[in-house]
């Protein structure tokens, strides 16, 4: 019976979970709005060409595709940051904007552990901003967001794409070799990285630096080690930037949860500078990820340096539940049952309670039958008669 089934990688969200998601959304919404971010929402359907013709093209196999009535190929939004970059470059008068969103994205390919094909995200983008202070503020807000939703013992793992890029330049590998090396480094596989470099005939300081990359993670002492390992200007500039951001975070009192990893180098990423992920022990994959993407909007016709992050709402929820922090739906404060003929009075009491902020239900069944059915459903049961109100 396919009419009763869902396709792979998507789920219905039932009341208890949906309530927790709504809570999380309200908490973050308040936080983001209070921090000066304005909400934005992009269309879920877009043209295939929008995402296949740009320099940071989304891989064809990741896109959910449909055909429009005129035969044009449509896709479900595959990435929120791309969509917001497009909006900022084409629709906002001032490209200097702080925007936030609560949005789904769809990834046809992803499935398996910790992965869904429909991904709920809450995130922010600081558009038209450059510099270490902007990066530091974004990281601080990422930490604040994880704290606000109730997560404990999280780590923000910070890196910079410039370090690997700079060191890679020194090696003079061809494109294929560079991509294979990136894969090994990203997997912290120094054994195969070394074999690859040896067979490519690479030599010099850069080889030692690359082979050290899988060990370049940990506290802030990593930055000094990384800096001492290279003379490449781009790589050193990356470290100097991280030092500056870290110093700012310390001054802001937000450096406690920060650690560093210079060996995280993902494939086909639009990030151009600092990158970071939010990690908690309870979930085997990042609950938050973000970074700087200065060149992303170029494809949409405007240069807008920007930094932002997205929080994976469902993964965060799983982490919260495993940390024991997921509250059940609170019981109703009151239920109101009307005597036959007293429906008007019952409705007026119901409205008064709602206005007072109580969570209350007006029973559809009336009389003693209603009282029997509603008993125990709420903290209090009120019975409204033509004469008045009794608590039952």
């Amino acid at each position: 019976m396919t009419t009763r089934k869902l396709p792979a990688g998507v789920q219905d969200i039932l009341p208890r979970e949906c309530r927790a998601l709504t809570n999380m959304r309200e908490t973050l919404s308040r936080l983001f709005f209070g921090c000066g971010f304005a909400p934005v929402s992009s269309a879920a359907l877009e043209y295939y060409d929008t995402y296949s013709q740009i320099s940071n093209a989304v891989a064809q196999e990741k896109l959910f595709k449909m055909t429009d009535t005129d035969g044009k190929l449509l896709v479900l939004r595959p990435d929120v940051t791309l969509a917001i970059s497009r909006i900022a470059a084409t629709k906002l008068e001032d490209a200097h904007a702080r925007l936030c969103y609560f949005s789904e994205k769809w990834d046809m390919e992803s499935a398996g552990a910790n992965k869904n094909r429909e991904i709920f995200q809450a995130g922010v983008e600081c558009l038209g901003e450059e510099g270490a202070f902007s990066d530091a503020q974004t990281i601080a807000l990422a930490a604040q967001s994880l704290e606000a939703i109730g997560l404990k013992n999280f780590v923000l793992d910070v890196g910079h794409v410039g370090y690997f890029k700079g060191v890679l330049e020194e090696l003079g590998l061809d494109e294929e070799g560079a991509e294979r090396l990136r894969g090994f480094i990203n997997a912290k596989d120094s054994y195969n990285a070394e074999r690859l470099l040896r067979s490519a005939g690479a030599s010099g300081d850069a080889v030692n630096t690359v082979l050290a990359l899988p060990t370049l993670f940990g506290g802030s002492e990593v930055l000094a080690r990384a800096k001492a390992l290279t003379r490449n200007e781009e790589a050193r500039a990356a470290i100097q930037h991280l030092e500056r951001v870290y110093a700012l975070l310390q001054e802001m009192g937000c450096a406690e949860c920060v650690c560093f990893d210079l060996g995280t180098v993902k494939r086909l990423s639009y990030y151009s500078g600092i990158v970071f992920t939010g990690l908690v022990q309870e979930v085997g994959a990042a609950v938050l990820s973000g970074g700087r993407y200065d060149n992303l909007a170029d494809d949409f016709g405007k240069h807008i340096p920007a930094v932002g992050f997205a929080l994976g709402v469902k993964r965060a929820l799983i982490a919260l539940e495993r940390q024991g922090g997921l509250a059940p739906i609170p019981p109703l404060d009151a239920v109101i049952v009307c005597e036959g003929g007293a429906e008007g009075a019952g409705y007026r009491l119901f409205q008064k309670f709602v206005e007072e902020g109580l969570r209350v239900r007006l029973a559809s069944r009336t009389g003693e039958e209603g009282v029997q059915a509603e008993r125990g459903c709420a903290q209090k049961l009120y019975y409204v008669t033509k004469e008045g109100v009794q608590e039952r």
């Binding site: 398996g112 552990a113 910790n114 013992n153 780590v155 793992d157 997997a187 912290k188 596989d189 054994y191 195969n192 899988p214 993670f217 940990g218 650690c259 990893d261 990690l279 908690v280 022990q281 979930v283 085997g284 994959a285 990042a286």
Partner: protein, 208 residues
């Protein structure tokens, strides 16, 4: 607690021995038990014994922090993991093998390849631009060319004695240096670094 996913079978025994040399209390692995989750007496380590091809799944999901599994399985499962050490255990090669007289079948446009490494085989031949038909099997792969089910097999070869006994030869070594690797969950390495890093360091020293 550090949780290990170990490949059931000979590799588990070898892994246990290696871990014991690093000071991990693995005595619980020597017990004859039907329990699936084993804990060391000092509660510092937990062990899951799972099918080799499931080790990357457990580690990627973060249910296990560390895993010991063959490179052949890692190639096939292609999960997002840290692959931090070559443990040099169980060295073998991933080879194309078949009848020596059919060496020319390697250029046959519709080569039939029997394998339990379906995805790896597909990737290898896709990169070469060759059309093949994959025949997925779960065991006794050598039987496929012998019975005519396939032209060649793509499988791990350790000594080659099974091939030889069936009149088959290695036609091509596609991946050499297939050994057991230590894999680490990407989050655990950062959130449990205080326990995991010293263990990796000890493993390095023991292997050196």
């Amino acid at each position: 607690m550090i949780r290990f996913a170990l490949s059931k079978g000979r590799l588990a025994a070898e892994s246990a021995e290696l871990l014991a040399r690093c000071g991990v209390d693995t005595s619980v692995l020597q017990e004859d038990t039907r329990k699936l989750v084993l804990e060391s007496a000092d509660k510092k380590f937990g062990f899951f014994l799972v099918k080799p091809s499931d080790v990357p799944t457990y580690v990627e999901a973060g249910v296990a922090d560390l895993g010991i599994v063959g490179k052949d399985t890692l190639l096939e499962e292609d999960k997002d993991l840290y692959e931090m050490l070559d443990l040099k255990l169980g060295e073998c090669r991933l080879c194309l093998a078949g009848y020596p007289s059919r060496r020319d079948t390697l250029t046959n446009p519709h080569l039939r390849v029997a394998t339990k490494y379906e995805r790896t085989a597909r990737r290898v031949f896709l990169e070469r631009g060759e059309d093949i038909e994959i025949i997925p099997l779960h065991g006794s792969i050598e039987l496929a060319p012998v019975t005519g089910l396939a032209d060649v097999i793509f499988d791990v070869v350790q000594t080659g004695s099974t091939l030889k006994a069936n009149g088959l030869v290695v036609l091509e070594e596609v991946f050499t240096g297939i050994t057991a690797r230590l894999v680490v969950n990407k989050v655990s390495l950062k959130t449990k670094s205080g326990e995991i890093l010293p263990l990796i360091q000890r493993l390095k020293e023991v292997l050196a």
